[in-house]
Amino acid sequence: MNLDDYRSVFMAADLVLILLAAVPTLSLTAPFPSGEPFSELWVLGPNHMIEEYPFNVQVNESYSVFVGVGNHLGRASYYVIHVKFRNQTQPLPNVTISEPSPLSGLLEYRFFVANGGTWETPISFGFLELSRQDDSLSVSRMSINEAVLNLNASTSWDSVYDGFFFQLFFELWLYDTRQESFEFQNRFAGIWLNMTA
């Protein structure tokens, strides 16, 4: 190696060291890319496990589940969960086109979750008034936590699975500061209920 070669090595080493010294300042002006932001929604059974979900339900009995949300959006987020109730023929949200279910919500839960944080709440529900006529069953009153709700939901006898079935489901919406409104997050979860008994 001659002197010019040594000079090149010295200059390259200098450049590397100067770049290392500049990393803290560069990270302030150009933050490192993070992973893909997302929100999670879950429904757990009464024992906080993914089992023993209420299924065979009766009038004037109370049942419980836990509903939770995880925030991985990289900022504090303002969510709303719409609690909805449907029979087998009514539409669910369409995740392909990010459309929520057109059914109106029975109740909503609004809450804030810090980045990386979770939120969870117990939901107790029960059915207060049911009426049956031949092969159809109607629900006119139900309770969710402390709220008593009047509704008009009915279902027909399912001859394939032998029962009257409803679904209680939860849609996750997020507050968009630019739109100044809540937007559906394409996340929903629910439980099926057999009201035959």
């Binding site: 002197l3 040594y6 000079r7 010295f10 080493a13 200098d14 060291l17 100067i18 010294a21 500049a22 990393v23 803290p24 300042t25 302030l28 900022r75 504090a76 303002y78 109740l107 909503e108 839960y109 609004r110 809450f111 804030f112 979750v113 810090a114 980045n115 944080g117 939120w119 402390e146 709220a147 008593v148 709700l149 507050y175 500061t177 100044e180």
Partner: protein, 171 residues
């Protein structure tokens, strides 16, 4: 005579009692459905603006998790207010919405303070970091220049020490 004055006194008292709701209308009157709805809407707006302030504080580098907890308390009141409203308890709904709104306003004020503090701290941190980086770069350059001079001197000394040697060629 006494009866007449007693009658007059009673009439005046009755008139005063009749006028009482006009003097203190809010304390006695029940909250209407519209008032309760507007109290809930007001509280929602305050909570949303408090959230926006928190987002700004986070962008400035603040940890606003305590304020988010307070905002969730406000939301708790608002949820109960909505339930009370749906059940027709407008008095309770308005009162709960006001409680939520008060917490929201408190959070909004604290959020603005936190944002200002974080901005000042971020600016200070940025200056310290930039000066640190610049100082380090200058030190690296000076140190490297000194090492290079020492290295060059030794290199030339070694070259000058070298003596030409005659190599024997054997065929």
């Amino acid at each position: 005579m006494n009866k007449v004055s007693l009658l007059k006194f009673s009439m005046v008292l009755l008139m005063l009692l009749a006028c009482l709701p006009l003097v203190v209308p809010t304390s006695v009157a029940q909250v209407s459905e519209g008032d309760a709805a507007s109290a809930i809407a007001d509280a929602e707006n305050v909570i949303i603006s408090a959230y926006e302030v928190i987002l700004e504080a986070e962008r400035a580098g603040a940890n606003a998790s305590v304020l988010l907890d307070r905002l969730n308390e406000a939301e708790g009141f608002l949820t109960r207010a909505r339930i009370a409203y749906s059940m027709g308890n407008f008095d309770e709904a308005a009162s709960l919405a006001d409680s939520g709104k008060n917490i929201g306003e408190e959070v909004k004020g604290a959020g603005v303070d936190l944002k200002d503090l974080s901005l000042a701290q971020s600016l200070q941190n940025m200056w310290v970091t930039a000066i640190g980086s610049f100082g380090s770069a200058v030190l690296i350059l000076l140190g490297s220049f000194w090492v290079w001079r020492v290295f060059k001197r030794r290199y030339f000394r070694q070259v000058l020490k070298m003596k030409p040697e005659a190599a024997t060629y054997e065929s």
